[in-house]
């Protein structure tokens, strides 16, 4: 969708951008529902046992957090590149973002496997139940982002974007930063506290 019709909307904001913000508001409520349930049970239930720190794999998760944050940076660079007219830059940084997203998922998969063998499973206790549910929900959103960004990459390679027409890159960026932000909340509440 092109953003040449900015002046056509009553607010001046393109439909797609407004739509993405509105969608992200609902996502905040979705993750908020899960996260507040976790906080309530973790602080309120006498039967909520928290695994010892060593079992959580904090160093690896910290690396993973860094990976995801970097992917947000590359996403910003991708948008910046196409705004300045560089399709090559767009392609390069979209690819980097995708690569980092896959790294994130890969590390996550390793984490899941390792934790499961160590005894933290979906039913081993409330910590495990919430950990897998929430991080899996987040991972699903990462996969959604990967799909969206792959589509953008394909379009970029076909030459569909230039300095004037690149609205969806911006919307994907908004989504991707949100996904990153959710992880920045999940990481401390599961690994650090």
């Amino acid at each position: 969708m092109n953003d040449t019709r900015v002046l056509d909307t009553s607010t001046g904001i393109p439909n797609g951008k407004l739509g993405m913000w509105v969608f992200l508001a609902s996502e905040v409520m979705l993750f908020g529902g899960f996260i507040s349930s976790y906080v309530i049970l973790r602080t309120g239930s006498p039967y909520f046992s928290i695994p010892p720190r060593e079992m959580l794999g904090v160093p690896l998760a910290t690396l993973n957090t860094f990976v995801l944050i970097t992917s947000s940076v590359t996403m910003v660079l991708a948008l910046d590149a196409v705004q300045k007219g560089s399709v090559k830059g767009l392609v390069r940084y979209l690819s980097a973002t995708l690569f980092l997203a896959f790294c994130f998922l890969g590390i996550k998969a390793y984490e899941y496997h390792h934790k499961w063998l160590e005894g933290i499973t979906l039913t081993s206790g409330l910590f495990g139940s919430f950990y897998y549910t929430l991080t899996a929900l987040h991972a699903l959103h990462v996969i959604g982002g990967i799909v969206f960004i792959s589509y953008l990459l394909a379009m970029a390679l076909k030459g569909r974007y230039d300095s004037r027409e690149h609205a969806r890159v911006e919307y994907a960026g908004l989504y991707w930063h949100f996904v990153d932000l959710v992880w920045v909340v999940l990481f401390p509440i599961f690994y650090l506290l």
């Binding site: 909307t9 009553s10 607010t11 904001i13 439909n15 407004l18 739509g19 509105v22 969608f23 508001a25 609902s26 996502e27 409520m29 979705l30 993750f31 908020g32 529902g33 899960f34 349930s37 309530i40 049970l41 309120g44 239930s45 006498p46 039967y47 909520f48 979906l122 039913t123 081993s124 206790g125 409330l126 139940s129 919430f130 549910t133 929900l137």
Partner: protein, 573 residues
């Protein structure tokens, strides 16, 4: 601007997978009316059991399988399923899709002078996701395990250990998704696609209502989705989000890990379900404003107050949810808080009703069929709203909670309130949708029969509630305190079967008029809002021959110095 280039559309592209908001609105309308009828028929079955507990159901009893009604006598589990599904179907498959999906989709773009919604493809998907969710929900009756039976409220732990609940949770996911997609569309459309000159203070109150409703849906539904996922995991993966330690079910100690909290579900559920009732209420209140201004030939009294009250209700609706939990074991300090916020939310509701009533003063009232329904809404919603007061007030709620008083309260609001207003909307907007009018004689028959019988069904519920009759009782006569008022059940049941009969003229009238109704002009009600400034029905995909420009407010009726008693919003001068 000329009409869009005429592309040959296939039948499928034009009527099945259409992206035109008007076609989608009609799809929602037909589908939701069918679901409403289905949901209605479930309660008609229940009403037999309530009037004559343990007696075989005539005619239908023989058709029901032995697992549900051996010898034609309803089983308690089947009764509970009928009750749970009645509530679920009426709210999520019936009223919301009709009020928001049908009327909102069809008339929001028209009233703001737009060609379509902001995201037509998203709109189309939102209908089909609803459709799939609806079919899945209904199919639970024939799937192994049967239909849900833990109430539309699905309280844990009962809902985790009962059958039929998994399908309910999955179907709800579809329905929630559909609503969220729709909400995004409504919000962006109202913000962005208003015609030139259509400022916020010139918006019809119907648009205000739909916009605010979209915001409520957007912020409330995801929380229920989160709660539903946790319940689903408790059911299929043996997690214990909601399941406390040491449950003993049918004499056997549960092997689950435990540690969960049963009240957590109630919080997550009611966080949505309370705002949801304003989703049920606001669009019909918007419809009432439209018809009232038109039928009284004067601007709605207190436009700003009404619009402001819509917004105030929406915000407050997120702060009252635990009034459903006063006796649940909730901390006492929280119940003081929620009692206060709950009583507060009655203020904007009273403000709206007062403004609508004051709109009758110095009016010139036309008693058309839409006006009959609209005028009936006012006292009926009055009863519904007023009976909420003893429920929001904690000391009296202790006695009335989970009794028939609650059922009477919400049916007055949703049936004699919302549904009556929606009927009014159908008669009012039928000419715009189909270019023909419905038969008004049968409209009057439908109106009078419906309103009288609805009152006969729901008013005795307050009597039952004050006597202490609990909700969801398969056979109320087992409990001594219910015996004296049991005859009211017989009255209510006959009234409900009579109510079904009075819907026949409506159903016949509706379908017959689509094909054979008297042809109607572009603006048969001489109304001012933009949906009447386009052909009947509006042009496919573009609606208006020319994009309208708005010069004045939505209810400029009987303006002094003008010959006609209505001044359309888009008219030059």
């Amino acid at each position: 601007m000329t009409a869009a280039v005429h592309r040959e559309e296939s039948f499928i592209g034009k009527w099945i997978f259409s992206r035109d908001h008007k076609v989608i609105g009609l799809q929602y309308m037909f589908t939701s009316l069918v679901f409403l009828l289905i949901g209605f028929s479930l309660i008609l079955l229940i009403r037999w059991q309530l009037a004559y507990p343990g007696r075989p159901i005539p005619f239908i009893g023989d058709l029901l399988p032995d697992s549900l009604a051996p010898g034609g006598i309803m089983m308690p589990d089947f009764y509970n399923s009928l009750g749970a599904m009645h509530g679920t179907i009426m709210i999520f498959l019936g009223i919301v899709p009709l009020g928001v999906g049908a009327f909102g989709n069809y008339f929001l773009p028209l009233q703001i002078g737009a060609k379509d919604m902001a995201f037509p493809t998203l709109n189309m998907s939102s209908y089909w996701v609803y459709f799939v969710g609806g079919v899945l929900m209904l199919s639970s009756f024939v799937l192994p395990g049967g239909a849900a039976r833990a109430g539309w409220t699905s309280y844990v732990p009962l809902s985790v250990i009962s059958s039929g609940q998994t399908t309910w949770l999955l179907a709800m996911t579809f329905l929630i998704t559909s609503s969220l997609l729709g909400a995004i569309n409504f919000i962006v459309t109202t913000l962005n696609l208003r015609a030139p000159g259509l400022t916020w203070s010139r918006l019809p109150l119907f648009v205000w209502a739909q916009f605010v409703t979209g915001l409520i849906l957007l912020f409330a539904f995801p929380v229920l989705q989160a709660g539903a996922v946790l319940q689903l995991l408790d059911r299929v993966a043996q997690t214990s989000f909601y399941m406390p330690q040491g449950l003993i079910i049918s004499g056997e100690l549960s092997q689950r890990g435990g540690g969960g909290n049963a009240l957590l579900w109630q919080h997550l559920f009611w966080f949505l379900a309370h705002p949801e009732v304003y989703v049920l209420l606001l669009p019909p209140m918007g419809i009432v404003a439209e018809i009232l201004a038109n039928g009284t030939r004067k601007p709605i009294f207190g436009y700003k107050e009404v619009a402001g009250s819509f917004c105030f209700i929406a915000v407050l609706s997120f702060m009252v949810w635990a009034h459903h939990m006063f006796v649940s074991g909730l901390k006492t300090s929280l119940s003081y808080l929620f009692m206060t916020t709950t009583m507060t939310i009655s203020i904007p509701s009273i403000a709206i009703l007062t403004c609508y009533l004051l709109s009758l003063r110095n009016a010139s009232i036309r008693y058309t069929v839409p006006m009959l329904f609209t005028l009936a809404f006012l006292p009926m919603f009055g009863i519904g709203g007023l009976t909420g007061l003893p429920l929001g007030f904690t000391p009296t709620d202790v006695y009335l909670h989970d009794t028939y008083y609650v059922i009477g309260h919400f049916h007055y609001v949703v049936v004699t309130g919302t549904l009556i207003a929606l009927f009014g909307g159908i008669y009012y907007w039928f000419p715009k949708m189909f270019g023909r009018s419905m038969n008004m004689f049968w409209g009057k028959v439908h109106f009078w029969g419906t309103i009288v019988l609805m009152n006969l069904i729901f008013f005795p519920m307050f009597i039952q509630g004050l006597a202490g009759v609990q909700r969801r009782l398969y056979d109320p006569t087992v409990q001594l305190h219910n015996l004296t008022v049991q005859p009211t059940n017989v009255l209510m049941s006959y009234a409900s079967w009579g109510l079904l009969l009075f819907q026949v003229p409506f159903i016949v009238n509706f379908f017959w008029s689509i094909f054979k109704g008297a042809r109607s002009e572009e603006n048969p009600w001489q109304a001012t809002t933009l949906e009447w400034a386009c052909p009947s029905p509006p042009l496919p995909h573009v609606n208006f021959e020319k994009v309208p420009t708005v010069h004045r407010g939505p209810y400029e009726y009987s303006v002094p110095g003008r010959e006609a008693d209505f001044w359309p919003q888009n008219e030059e001068n």
